[in-house]
């Protein structure tokens, strides 16, 4: 027993001591954690390179080979200033500086100021076909840039909130030379997408084919023996096969500071771009969706089994009956606007569902129902819905086909048309259900002026205030989606509203827990939530 505990304590102590030390220090300060991921959405034709850049870590040659460099290239000038030499262009890499012997003036007052005033400004990404060879890596420290090509097919993905450092903006000359300015992001992790990897593969395969041609030419010319050529070709064949199956590339990130010092980041050995068939990044979304579906189906089954739920009354929907009745009494038509969005918008579908319910109520009283449509496809659907509703209540003759019509797909021309209908036909009741934009107030103010009872429902949050000021009842956001179930009074449909409420309660619970934990200084919960891929 004691031994067991002792072992545990030892293990913990070991971890505590070993973990910090076992972390390999970054090869160059400023760049860390370079990884390459297969990109899953693009049939493997591109990859994402991830790495971290930190502007506060000072990228400086001194950082990693201070002594070696200092010995060769720095000298005290007369006034005690350390002079650090660079290439004539002032942008040679650490590797190049070590290789070449050219001297040049870049005065740095002292080491510390260099460290402080030399944050990362730009970065570039270089790539090389194939894995890194021994000779590419100089003493395990520097990557020889000669074998690398600058990647031209870069596209940055997902640039969240950023602000430029003013000095970057000012420094136009530098900016033009280099590819990717450093964004001062709160999240210092970068994701750069390298696209069209097929091109590189093509390049490699072509070069191998060229080699094959050269061997054959040499054989023909007699420069190469038959046996030798055969061996070469066989080797080439395996290489070609290997390249087709297992295409590899190496990447390295280069960063540059304001004063033009380049350093190389960690290199990454060999990636194999390939197609990922299942995009697991989205699994969270699926998990939540499926959980919600299950909850919805459970509530649905329970209702079918006879369980009753309380659904809070919605004033706007309780008034529908009265509004339709009023139109009948006054002998005036009912006008229904199904929103200005296409059929793929769920708000439109919700609106069509509501129209189905309202059309039935209107059909019973044989009150005219005018439905001007905005979208051609929506028009064809709503015409059928209204016709079916009339048939459903046994009044197919009351359906007037010319009252359900396509008006126009121009936003304000539509508003003008609807306003014209309101002024001429003087509807007693107007419904606005679905998605609305800037034209909402134009229509509802006119409806207000002609004295109609107006009931609006939209999930366009910016238009809600306008509807509230000019309509009698307004359904806000989700109430629009609840309306159809509510109007049908079908307990099975109503049960789904309860499932939505439960869903919202879960979200609220998560938010409250998150806030409490965050206030208590516990960040892991927020971290997990923020890092759920979208």
């Amino acid at each position: 027993m004691i031994l067991k505990r002792f072992g545990l304590v030892l293990l913990i102590l070991l971890c505590v001591f070993v973990i910090p030390f076992s972390q390999q220090s970054d090869r160059v300060a400023g760049i860390s954690g370079l990884t390459v991921e297969d990109f899953k959405y693009d049939h493997g034709a591109s990859v994402i390179i991830k790495f971290k850049l930190s502007p506060d870590d000072n990228i400086s040659l001194f950082d990693y080979d201070k002594e070696k460099l200092a010995a060769v290239y720095t000298e005290e000038s007369e006034d005690g200033v350390t002079v650090f030499e660079l290439s004539p262009e002032g942008k040679l890499s650490a590797y190049e500086i070590l290789q070449s012997g050219e001297k040049n003036e870049v005065a740095i007052t002292d080491e510390n100021s260099l460290l402080k005033k030399n944050p990362v400004r730009y970065y570039r990404i270089y790539a090389k076909i194939g894995a890194l060879a021994e000779e590419d890596i100089d003493g395990g420290k520097y990557v020889n840039p000669d074998g690398f090509n600058e990647i031209r097919n870069i596209s940055i993905i997902g640039l969240p909130k950023y602000t430029y450092e003013q000095s970057v903006l000012d420094d136009i000359a530098l900016k033009d030379k280099f590819r990717l300015p450093y964004y001062n992001m709160t999240n210092k992790e970068y994701e750069v997408r390298i696209k069209n990897l097929d091109d590189y593969k093509e390049l490699l395969l072509n070069s191998l084919k060229e080699e094959k041609k050269a061997i054959k030419a040499a054989l023909k010319a007699g420069d190469l023996g038959k046996e030798e050529a055969k061996a070469d070709l066989a080797e080439l064949k395996t290489r070609l096969k290997e390249a087709k199956k297992n295409f590899t590339m190496s990447f390295t990130v280069v960063v540059e500071s304001a004063s033009g010092i380049l350093t190389f980041g960690e290199y990454y050995e060999a990636i194999h771009p390939r197609v990922e068939w299942i995009n697991l990044d989205k699994s969270w979304v699926y998990l939540f969706s499926i959980a919600f579906i299950i909850m919805l189906l459970i509530v649905y089954k329970l209702t079918k089994g006879g369980k009753e739920y309380f659904i809070r009354p919605i004033a706007g929907l309780s008034a529908v009956e009265e509004a339709v009745g009023r139109a009948t009494e006054m002998g005036r038509p009912v006008l229904y606007i199904s929103g200005l969005s296409s059929i793929s918008d769920i708000a439109t579908l919700a609106s069509i569902n509501i129209l189905g319910q309202i059309a039935k109520k209107v059909a019973i009283y044989e009150t005219p129902l005018i439905v001007p449509a905005y979208d051609p496809i929506v028009f064809t659907v709503i015409r059928e819905v209204v016709r079916e509703a009339y048939i459903d209540v046994g009044k197919p003759d009351a359906f007037q086909e010319e009252n359900v019509f396509y008006l126009t797909s121009a936003q304000f021309a539509y508003a003008a048309g609807v306003n014209g209908i309101m002024v001429r036909e003087k509807p007693a009741t107007v419904f606005y259900m679905g998605m609305f934009f800037a034209e909402a107030l134009l229509m509802s103010e006119t409806g207000n002026q002609v004295g109609a009872i107006q009931i609006a429902g939209t999930d366009a949050i910016t238009q809600v205030p306008f509807f509230i000021t000019s309509c009698d009842y307004t359904l806000i956001g989700e109430e629009l989606y609840a309306a159809s179930a509510y109007l049908s009074r079908d307990p099975l449909l109503l049960s789904t509203l309860k499932a939505q409420d439960y869903g919202k309660q879960v979200i609220m619970l998560i938010i409250i827990i998150g806030i409490i934990l965050e206030l208590m200084g516990v960040h892991w919960f927020t971290y997990i939530l923020q890092n759920i891929p979208d």
């Binding site: 640039l159 969240p160 909130k161 997408r193 121009a410 936003q411 800037a438 366009a460 910016t462 238009q463």
Partner: protein, 367 residues
């Protein structure tokens, strides 16, 4: 009728809407006749978009969605013009497409072409002044009774027609074309070709393409295959932008930024289908009525910039003027700022009047 204070305050709570309409018209229209110089401080979200475009490389491409109809032109056209001007000035290529409304087809074309003209006029400025002195041109001007500016416009149009190989443009002003050919002036345009903004090389306008989401998704696969032609009906594959060996545009991979100018719900679609699915940065220019909807998208990083109504256009124009002080001029966005200021003030005054009336009559009623 005897005047009483109570009646007066009751009236304040109940001003007829027609008076408000009339006053509104006056305060909006009057400032347009006087050139008030108004300075604006660009908003954060406008700066974000400007910086993004400023930091693209020459030769990169932005795609502009013209998803508004003529009605909201007053707000959105100035934005489009300012953004396109900036892009052209930086050597960034522009593609335009209208997906939401067929009636936007003409607007997008006007926005892009007008800026291309503006810059081409800047580029050929000296040459045009030189041509002004030419006898034949002087005679042509006198014959046609047109101004210098109009002639400059026509010459640039012909020059663009020559380089774009657009015969129908060349046929527009046959006499002028004849003069340019005869005097050899047409041959002297050649050095300007590289700098000039030309259709198919520096910009392509696709016009209205029906299909909306399906087009948006299709462009992610292959633009040439999905869109096939530009607004004139010429096959895209003929254009340098789509067939060059070095910098051709295939799909969203080659688009550095999507700017959606919208008066409807199209921004959401661009975000869902282009930002989320294809990982392209999206920015938006929207009418002020719906702008409040889009601030959460900025925070989530799904939009990298937002131009909010006419003020957004004014902000962008201000930034353009800061960066290109010699050539950029205030546009319609800045021009509308005085009107907007007065209109806001008027609404405020009416709200205050209404509330004063409300409080006084309420107290009076209680007393």
């Amino acid at each position: 009728m005897k005047f009483t204070w109570h009646k007066f305050f009751t009236l304040l709570t109940n001003i007829d809407r027609r008076w408000i309409y009339l006053l509104m018209a006056v305060v909006v229209v009057l400032p347009l006749f006087f050139s008030f110089s108004v300075k604006v401080k660009p908003a954060k979200t406008v700066n974000m978009l400007y910086d993004f475009i400023e930091n693209l490389e020459p030769g990169n491409t932005i795609l502009i969605g013209f998803d508004y109809s003529p009605d909201s032109l007053a707000e959105l056209n100035p934005m489009g013009k300012a953004v396109v001007y900036h892009a052209f000035k930086r050597g960034i290529r522009v593609m335009g497409i209208a997906l939401a409304w067929p009636s936007a087809a003409g607007l997008g074309l006007d926005v892009i072409q007008s800026q291309a003209f503006k810059i081409n006029l800047e580029i050929m400025d000296e040459k045009l002044k030189e041509l002004d002195a030419l006898d034949e041109i002087v005679k042509y001007k006198a014959d046609k009774e047109i101004t210098d500016e109009e002639v400059h416009f026509r010459i640039v149009k012909l020059a663009m027609g020559i380089f774009e190989r657009n015969q129908s443009d060349l046929d527009l002003f046959p006499e002028l074309m004849e003069i340019l050919r005869a005097t050899g002036a047409a041959d002297e345009f050649e050095p300007f070709k590289a700098d000039m903004i030309l259709s198919g090389v520096d910009y392509t306008y696709f016009g209205y393409k029906p299909g909306y989401v399906s087009i948006m998704l299709g462009m992610g696969k292959d633009m040439v295959e999905t869109l096939t032609t530009d607004y004139r009906g010429s096959p895209l594959i003929r254009y340098e932008m789509f067939n060059s060996n070095t910098n051709k545009i295939k799909n969203y991979e080659d688009v550095s930024l999507v700017v959606d100018l919208a008066a409807g719900g199209s921004v959401g679609a661009w975000v869902v289908y282009v930002n989320t699915k294809f990982g392209r940065p999206v920015a938006a220019g929207v009418t002020a009525v719906m702008a409040a909807d889009y601030y959460p998208f900025i925070q989530s990083g799904q939009l990298i910039g937002l131009l909010n109504g006419m003020r957004g256009a004014a902000d962008y124009e201000t930034l353009n003027m800061r960066h290109f002080p010699d050539t950029a001029r205030p546009g319609k966005g800045l021009g509308g700022m005085a009107s907007q200021t007065w209109a806001h003030l008027m609404i405020l005054i009416f709200i205050i009047l209404g509330n004063v009336g409300y409080f006084v009559t309420k107290k009076g009623g209680e007393a």
